[in-house]
Symmetry: C5
């Protein structure tokens, strides 16, 4: 679809959004890439990996993209070829931090110099650094949604809480699935020394590994906290069921005897005191005594 290039010093960054068959053809002609790697760039989601060749690396990485409609993070794939003097990124254009960095390098002399002057390895670091920040921002958003649930769990309607917990947990599962294999991929980059990733960059890639590890720790944290909230919300609902039951029971126990008494005095037979003018007040008084007695009993058993 769209292939654009930025050149600085001796490094060129080729960014291909939605790679078409011709783009791949172009790469095939001018670069020494293995046919299988080029095929992978066109096919859908692959597993994250680093394929190592003599004079280039083929890196497949995944990043989460939050889909607000499905309320879940989906996988967004970036394919990277890195060799001596070039770095090629292929993706579907969703990953804004990558696009933004490209724009900066494209427009701004200083950004270009900062990210590209020391070779392709430095540029790769720059890209990964941005994406780590991006991932951390997504996790922070998840964290603040969890905090909201935490604050409302003892007061809010449970329907909202239950749905929110379910949706966040679903998202955390998806994010874990996406983040986990990235650590392996970047550790791999850190460990091995290659000529076209300039020396002295390991420290920097160590930073990226650290970033993904922190992301992973935070996701673990999120997962445990959401489990706690889920368990708490279930306990609260059970508690409320008991409270509701208790209210119903208290009301029934208070009113049913009075209704029975009224029913008895409504029977069409000869009733004691039924001719007395103050029978009504006697009966009402009896009812009050019953109610007061029951209330005292409930208070004792801590039901009211």
């Amino acid at each position: 679809m769209s292939m654009r290039t930025v050149i600085e010093n001796k490094v060129s960054w080729i960014n291909i959004v939605d790679p078409s068959q011709e783009d791949i053809e172009h790469l095939r002609r001018y670069y020494p890439f293995h046919p299988l790697d080029l095929e992978d760039c066109l096919s859908s989601i692959e597993r994250p990996k680093v394929d190592e060749y003599e004079n280039y690396l083929f890196i497949v990485m995944h990043f989460p993209i939050y889909d607000p409609h499905a309320r879940i993070s989906r996988i967004s794939e970036v394919d990277i070829f890195i060799g001596s003097g070039y770095l090629i990124t292929l993706h579907n254009g969703e990953l804004t931090p990558l696009l933004r960095l490209f724009e900066e390098c494209h427009k701004d002399e200083r950004a270009r110099s900062k990210h590209m002057s020391r070779g392709a390895g430095q540029l790769l670091y720059g890209i990964l650094d941005r994406t780590v920040d991006y991932v951390m921002r997504i996790l922070t958003q998840v964290g603040s949604r969890i905090n909201q649930v935490e604050e409302k769990i003892f007061t809010e309607d449970m329907r909202y809480i239950v749905e929110e917990i379910s949706v966040i947990r679903r998202d955390v599962i998806a994010l874990r699935r996406i983040i986990k294999p990235q650590i392996g991929v970047v550790s791999n980059l850190e460990r091995k020394d290659r000529p076209f990733i300039r020396e002295g960059m390991e420290v920097y890639f160590g930073d990226i590994v650290d970033g993904f590890s922190r992301a992973w720790d935070e996701l673990e944290d999120h997962r445990e906290v959401i489990e706690n909230l889920s368990s708490t919300s279930d306990s609260i609902t059970s508690y409320r069921i008991n409270e509701t039951m208790r209210t119903l029971t208290v009301i029934s126990v208070l009113l049913l005897p009075l209704t029975l008494l009224a029913g008895i005095y409504g029977m069409n037979i000869s009733l004691p005191f039924d001719k007395q003018p103050y029978a009504f007040y006697g009966l009402i008084g009896t009812m009050v005594v019953i109610v007061v007695g029951l209330v005292v009993l409930f208070r004792k058993r801590k039901w009211m």
Copy 2:
């Protein structure tokens, strides 16, 4: 039962469906197979394995077959002998991707050339590649059933949700049990180099290992998502129990006092105002006041 052969170049593929005693006898006579291996071909389900001999391999693999009646995936076994110049598959004819590949090789010159021209190792890769695709399709179906539950969980009747979750979880357990040992079997094939699996095939078998690993990851994902759904459905049911209880309580609390009042004025004794012509309207008015008061109270406590 049925033994058919396709020959291409120097490789022959013998496909035996529902192997009979005679088929085994035939193999025993013409091939250097260990008696124990031949016995295994006749007996029921074995554990997946690769038995290595000097001049041939005996491979037992399992694949899932979805049984729509029991709504669960069952094991289907394929036994493979692979040696220099031949590949023999024994199974009960359920595994369609294998049958289809055999038909293709049988009928289509080009397919035969594509899958068999480079030796038995290539043919084995072809068979495994098809079965990986087949397994992924099964997992995609499970995934879409999970998605359906996910979409309906907040609206649908819980009976359907509970049954669906139980059945899918049962199937995921079965699939995990089937897929897991295959990774070991195929990794085993990838690692070791044998003369009759032509050199340069390791990369390809690496692909198959990758495929099964992806299948395993997806099953792990399915399992976590289904656990989340199960936990969510339980929370929703509890929530609904509370809501139903609350409705009953509200109705009872609203109507019981009125019934009591009516009961009191139904008593066969001298009642205050009972001779007044507007007593009825006074009592109805009192009832309305009680109801309105209770509704206001419920609104405050967020019960209505």
Copy 3:
């Protein structure tokens, strides 16, 4: 209690049921066994183990015996001494497959030849092979009990389901505890080569290890399935509680207003229309209208 011997070729199998002090004394006199091992034979349940000595092995194995009264599998211990030219089994006579094999060897020339002609190692394999079959049969029985619960879970009374799940789960816990250490014991036998276990037997012991591993896998499967059933049965019970609550609520909501209306017209005061001859039919009509209205409302909210 009872010591019997079968001799074939140069191997003798001594089978001791309920070993008494004298039996042990006998072994002490004629065999080079360590006193601690002989003590172990008299004492109650030990941990499964293989104790290796220069010229004999002492093996303690456990097998499950299903106790139909307690509805749980108990441990049954077999102690085995194996040395050059002899194999001694000590147990309490519960383990039928072992007894049956002894009887076969005792009575049947061919069975004796088949199991004992190649030395004590072969006989040990024969015994273990039988017990593996026996263990698999027990697991199959557990599996069929699980299947029964699975089939009935959506229809049967929950009391039966809950009790059945609890009992099966208890039994699976017991079986896991019994089977697990056996794998280690038999792997141990497979690994090391000893003079009195004839060469070439490792493949066969590999078979036994495989058998116990399969048993373990099946138990893991059983455990996961029973967890699923337990979770499902809880969900179903919750669902049913809600359904029962809903029925009660629907009935109450339908009948309470009518009862109130009847109560109002039962009040001993001047009522509107009370002298009309068709007042009754008017009121019954009103009641019908109320019921129909409520039913329509319930239908809309999917409560009926």
Copy 4:
């Protein structure tokens, strides 16, 4: 507080109950112990450990003491110095098996000879052997409490079951915490050979390791069984809630329509058949028909 000594052959066993500052001072003067170790003897609960020095070992072990008031097992610490020709135990006097062994050695010539004639290593073994027995007895008690819950779970009042499960589970958690590190400590003793623990004792310490491992296995077993009971008891309670709900619903559904009918015939208006002498029997008959009809319906739906 109290320091007593038993001497046999060349080994002396010094038993110090509730060590005071002077006791420690005494040890400091006459033994080559590290100051930190002596400090540890005065301070409260340490982690179990074996500190190895050139000519002595400092061992800290924990044993469970059941506290009947808190219904939980607490940690009881024993500090042991073992060197060439002496063994010193420091503890707070709670651990009866240790005290009893000391008394035996003190009073009984033969016990002294049996436990101390072969050196300090043998004495250490004797002490540990007793404490293993003691631990097993405690676990057996826990096991029998679990069995009681198991037997009563389907019949007894749930309040007792729930409390019992909670208390036993709490105790199992405490016991696991106490037992687990002991295995490491004793394995450590088994592995290394020291001059003052006479040669040939490893087999015996292997016995102790075995004992603690068995204790650990049994605790794992207890834990799983108690989880099963907890899950079962929750299922039973849910089941009972549904049964109680169902009883209430059946009663309400049976009686509410009759009450309504009676209410209707209690209205003070002209009623059909109200002047008939057999109206009463007609209405009662109608009521019976309603009840019988509802009962038949409930029977069909398996509610009664």
Copy 5:
């Protein structure tokens, strides 16, 4: 913000609270620190780590600070540079044990001598020792809150219990997250020998590792106990729901038949015995008989 120094012998301890840009500038000028480390001191929360350089160590540690408002422990970071002759601590001033130790060294000659006379390694040990004590105190507080819940769980209102369990569990999750990586950091310090951490200090750092391990064990314990409490509280709530239900059912079953009987005798038709003067007593007697009968029935079924 505030930089203060204590000097003893040849060691100087520089304590910087809320490090400003100028403080960092100062360090940059006079010390050989890596720019990345200095940046870390200004930025927010890092992962705990030990960065090793030729002539200094950069240590980032985390400690929990209990936030009484949010009822959860937050991370408090301390950055430490340690080199030959100096130790520099940077933090935000929250960690009281560190501040207190600084004050002691500042004011008290003897404390200064005790903690700083043997070099920077000893001072580091002193600081870590204090913080371990501080962490243990926090865990003890959590433990006593758990004990309170444990004591009240069978008597107190569930709302309090549920909220308390949720809050404590949340705090335990946070504490686990904070404590866990510290063990790795301190183990790292223990293992490697550096010139500026004087020889013979490993034993002491072993003490610190031990302290953090004990903290971790206690947190594990807390976690298991809180899970037990959570499970118990859910069981109790379910039990209470059933009890409440049962009370309601018993009341309804007792009173509804009497109400029906009264309703029947309230019908405006000719009733049997309605003219008898003792009809009232007959009916009341019937009611008593019904109630007594039902009570006997309930007693039998253990509902009362």
